[in-house]
């Protein structure tokens, strides 16, 4: 049962700062005008609560470059050592699109074979979400049901009510955190709960007027399946420069490559995992052939993987959270909302 509390905006920095005693505290920070997640500067604790961070927090569970194992070979003696990160972290200010992204990554990394590395980071991290009071410039979470307000996958969820935050607990860990700083919180009154509903409705209505067409997961999935062989994939991929950006900044993208990298010392090598991208030609390259040779097929793969395959494979799990970052990061001006719009109109 979710509990609700009120936190004065002025006390946010104090609440977050206190957590520094037990956790590494990650918050959205502004660097040269860019909003990115980073460690809270405890000497000057500033917490940003407007805007969508450029890169989702997935790298705290699935880093861009992660050393998995070190192999030390001395003749027939071979040692294999693992490097698990078990640092206790709290991440504040995760937008609903990114919370939904983490939920999907949980499904992918923790099902079938449990990924030890993801699991170690995930079970040592507390998630504090932040609802969105207005649509961001390229987001389309609302029709996909992944925003603008979060439903689950958080330990604590914050909503900006003006001069105060409404906090909802989503787990035992969240409840404990609230309890340990009980003096900072006040009871949430009926007026606060009403304001919460009002803000959500207002934001949803704002989305309806800003999106070019309505997209909902069930219909878009079917419509896409019907557009499998369509010329639109060739047309839309014409300007793709194979940068991989759309995958790197996507909250649900999880593809990676594994390389065994030699170290300086003789006989030592490290098994490293790197972010990879299905938009690159080499992603499906085998010795004899490449099973996805055109950019049209690769673009189609990205859209289908998110909006058809992941929901199919994982029982309705969300493959695209509508954060819109792939639109912002593309030097070829390719837009997934344009593509979906075209597909919906067929």
């Amino acid at each position: 049962m979710s509990e609700m509390r009120i936190l004065d905006k002025a006390k946010l920095a104090e609440f977050i700062g206190k957590l520094g005693a037990d956790f590494e505290v990650i918050v959205p920070r502004r660097e040269n005008g860019n909003l990115v997640f980073g460690s809270l500067d405890h000497t000057q604790p500033v917490v940003e609560f407007t805007g969508k961070p450029l890169v989702p927090p997935k790298e705290y569970f699935f880093p861009q470059r992660e050393e998995l194992l070190t192999f030390t070979v001395k003749g027939k003696e071979i040692k294999v050592e693992a490097h698990l990160d078990k640092v206790k972290r709290v991440i504040w200010g995760i937008r609903p699109c990114d919370l939904a992204g983490i939920k999907t990554l949980d499904t992918i990394f923790l099902s079938n074979y449990t990924d030890n590395y993801y699991q170690a980071r995930r079970e040592n991290t507390i998630l504090m979400g932040l609802n969105c009071n207005e649509p961001c410039s390229s987001g389309f979470c609302s029709p996909l049901g992944t925003g603008p307000f979060a439903k689950d996958s958080f330990d604590l969820l914050f909503t900006d009510l003006g001069n105060r935050f409404l906090i909802e607990t989503g787990s035992e860990a969240g409840r404990e955190l609230v309890a340990s700083s009980a003096d900072l919180f006040a009871e949430a009154r009926d007026a606060d709960k009403a304001k919460l509903k009002e803000l959500e409705e207002k934001c949803k209505r704002a989305f309806e007027s800003s999106l070019p067409s309505t997209v909902d997961l069930a219909t878009v999935s079917n419509k896409l399946s019907g557009a499998w062989g369509d010329a639109l994939w060739t047309e839309e991929s014409e300007t793709c420069i194979l940068c991989g950006g759309c995958n790197f900044i996507c909250p649900t993208c999880h593809c990676f490559n594994i390389e065994d990298v030699p170290a300086e010392q003789q006989g030592v090598s490290t098994r490293v995992r790197y972010w990879d991208s299905c938009q690159l030609g080499g992603f499906t390259q085998m010795a004899a052939e490449n099973t996805r040779r055109t950019q049209a097929e690769r673009l189609r793969q990205r859209v289908f993987h998110k909006l058809v395959y992941i929901p199919d494979k994982y029982n309705g799990a969300v493959g695209c959270t509508g954060c819109g970052r792939c639109i912002e990061v593309c030097p070829g001006e390719i837009s997934i909302t344009n593509i979906l719009g075209r597909v919906m109109r067929k």
Binding site: N34, R65, E238, T239, C243, Y274, G282
Partner: protein, 677 residues
């Protein structure tokens, strides 16, 4: 994780991004949305191209050649050896028997210091760098026509042009963030004309693709000029008030009717006419060009033709217009600005100009050589003739990047003494007597100047690997060993010195650069920088732009019965130049692990070459083998080979045929034959 904002080490777009550092290792990249060029976007090299930094093949100690093997040495030992040998050679053969090749990959500060070392410590103007191989035509061509040899407008303006003419630039692969502007422009209604013997990715967005024969650019543009004049599409006001030389141009161009131009270029006359009408019909027309027109024996003429086109239609001195050479390397613009050219000091101040030279003599406290030195392409011949005895190379791999490899190899092997300062043991470094380990862009502070003349900060993110040292430090330490003391606390102070001596950089300082990049000219501390040039008048003395009446001259080596194909060389978006950095990166290597040759399907059928099969390509200078890529995006009679792959080095085939003024090699045209296997 620390995040350090820095400027990209690859192309001339000058994107910024954050390097993520943990335990003194670069482990991540974050985009910078607030950057005006990058806008939070990067190409694959920006996102994933930095693995080479931590490669185990990085040079970590100085190396001295003994017999035919290298042994590790201390810095002092290496410096002393270099100083001794250079002194000996200087005493016996004179300062001009020594040449210095600087690096378009290194910072402005490093380039400034190395030309200062050459001029002040050694006493020679034999300073040059790889701009000789790429945009020497631009520096000379645009200096002569406009008075300034640089991109006239800025990158963000391109998206607001209404006509974009791309000639000799595979922009998507070589300058991805410039291509982004072109895409934006086209999506906003701009009309794109692409002139390229190959179909490039931008062709798909073009209103018109002119597939002209390699080397016929002057004829193509003269044809367009002819139509513009004949159909009275000239901007008469602009021509009369801001230019000179129109009558001579008109006379020469009269001979290039669409039919004549079609005959020479292979482009149908109607397309030439349409191209002229589209370009002249725009209110804001911008020309974008790169190696496709500069790397020719007529490189300077090609560039001046572009200038003619812009001036004839008044597309100069306003936003979203101009003539825009896309400088390839991250700092080739800066290397030129810093005077690493044989005939000018920093800021393009002529070495022969007594007053200017005296300014530098006073600042540097030493008498300076007054005669222009030799170019890198000229130096190769002098090495073979034995006139140049010693060569100092920083951050360049001429064995793979210079034309006619066997000629280059002969030249380098004939030297009495060679030093290479680099981060990897390149094919060139293997031939050196001493190798000094420099550092990557992530291990030092400095500045790069992008193609749009924007000076930006490069920020140190990690410590130099092993015993390697920042290149600027190496140069100052070596200079002191040569008897010319150089002592700077940091690159910041070097830039302060640059600003004092270089009018266009006069207002540049590290403090100002903290707030963002500055486009030169930026002559004073309160000057905001100059996005586009030639607003009211041209930089030439007298203020007028000069038309150049240039006739078409064919390339130096055309196909014949023995070598019936034309070879053109170039790059891809996934590897960088000689592949020294990018071939060590799994993501980039996976895209193109091997060399290849692009062949037209008809040519493939005629020669019995199948897609994916091995092909031998031979020219009068050498032979290489690689896989065939049979594609219909290339003209019949033409083959394309990227020069990234040392084991299938395109430059084994190319010829050192040079533009007579710019001395730039004709990489884009030579004659080859093909054979199966």
């Amino acid at each position: 994780m620390r995040k350090i904002l820095t400027t990209c080490e690859f192309c001339g777009c000058g994107c910024n991004f954050y390097l993520g550092v943990e335990d003194d290792k670069v482990v991540a990249v974050y985009p910078c949305a607030s950057h005006p060029i990058s806008q939070g976007k990067l190409c694959i090299k920006g996102w994933m191209g930095h693995e080479y930094i931590h490669s185990t093949e990085r040079l970590k100690t100085p190396l001295i050649k003994e017999g035919d093997k290298f042994r590790e040495a201390t810095w002092d030992e290496a410096y002393q050896l270099i100083a001794d040998r250079l002194q000996q050679i200087k005493e016996r053969y004179g300062s001009d028997s020594i040449a210095v090749s600087t690096s378009a990959k290194c910072t402005n500060e490093e380039n400034y210091l190395l030309q200062k070392l050459a001029r002040a410590a050694i006493g020679t103007n034999n300073v040059d760098h790889c701009a000789r191989l790429c945009h020497a035509s631009t520096v000379i061509g645009l200096s002569q026509t406009f008075g300034s040899g640089a991109m006239t407008n800025s990158i963000p303006e391109i998206g607001s042009a209404d006509v974009i003419f791309v000639i000799g630039s595979n922009t998507t692969e070589q300058h991805p963030l410039v291509a982004d502007q072109i895409v934006k422009g086209v999506k906003g209604g701009a009309r794109l004309i692409v002139a390229d013997p190959r179909q490039i990715q931008l062709t798909k967005l073009a209103a018109l693709h002119l597939s002209h024969r390699p080397g016929t650019d002057v004829a193509l543009i003269n044809g367009m000029l002819n139509v513009i004049i004949a159909e009275d599409l000239v901007d008469r006001e602009f021509v009369s008030s801001r230019t000179e030389g129109f009558e001579e141009l008109k006379e020469v161009v009269a001979g290039y009717t669409p039919r004549k131009a079609a005959e020479i270029t292979g482009v149908p006359a109607e397309k030439i006419i349409e191209a002229a009408r589209i370009y002249a019909g725009g209110k804001k027309g911008t020309i974008i060009y790169a190696m496709g027109i500069t790397q020719h024996t007529t490189g300077v003429d090609n560039v001046m033709s572009c200038a003619n086109l812009a001036m004839l239609t008044g597309n100069m001195g306003r936003e979203s217009t101009g003539v825009n050479p896309l400088r390839g390397q991250n700092n080739v613009q800066g290397a030129c600005d810093m005077g690493t050219l044989p005939n000018v000091f920093p800021g393009y101040q002529a070495v022969t100009n007594t007053e200017l030279r005296q300014k530098f003599e006073k600042a540097w406290g030493v008498k300076l050589p007054s005669q222009p030195g030799v170019t890198v392409t000229g130096a190769i011949n002098k090495m073979i003739a034995g006139e140049i005895k010693a060569l100092y190379i920083m951050g360049e791999n001429p064995m793979i990047s210079d034309p006619d490899m066997s000629h280059t190899e002969k030249a380098l092997k004939n030297l009495g003494f060679m030093v290479v300062q680099d981060i990897f043991l390149t094919e060139t470094a293997r031939l050196a007597d001493v190798v000094l380990p420099g550092v990557s862009f992530a291990e030092k502070d400095g500045t790069f100047t992008s193609t749009e003349r924007k000076v930006q900060r490069v920020r140190k993110a990690i410590e130099p690997l092993g015993s390697s040292r920042p290149d600027w430090k190496i140069i100052t330490e070596l200079s002191s060993h040569l008897g010319y003391k150089m002592d700077y606390p940091s690159p910041r102070e070097v830039m302060d010195e640059i600003a004092k001596l270089t009018p266009s950089y006069g207002g540049i300082s590290y403090d100002r650069l903290e707030r963002g990049g500055l486009c030169w000219p930026c002559p004073s501390p309160d000057h905001p920088g100059t996005p586009y040039l030639h607003k009211e008048k041209f930089a030439r003395p007298g203020g007028k732009g000069r038309f150049s009446a240039v006739p078409y001259r064919p390339p130096a080596e055309l196909p014949d019965d023995e070598y019936p194909f034309t070879l053109t060389t170039g790059r891809t978006g996934f590897h960088w130049h000689t592949g020294t950095m990018t071939r060590k990166d799994w993501a980039l290597d996976r895209e193109y692990p091997k060399g290849y040759v692009e062949i037209n399907p008809q040519d493939a059928a005629n020669t019995g070459i199948r897609n994916g099969a091995m092909v031998k390509v031979a020219s009068r200078r050498g032979e290489i083998s690689m896989q065939a890529n049979v594609v219909d995006t290339i003209q019949e009679g033409l083959v394309f080979i990227p020069f990234h792959f040392a084991e299938a080095a395109a430059n084994k085939l190319t010829a050192a045929n040079l533009d007579p003024v710019a001395k730039i090699p004709e990489y884009k045209v030579c004659a080859v034959k093909l054979e199966r296997g």
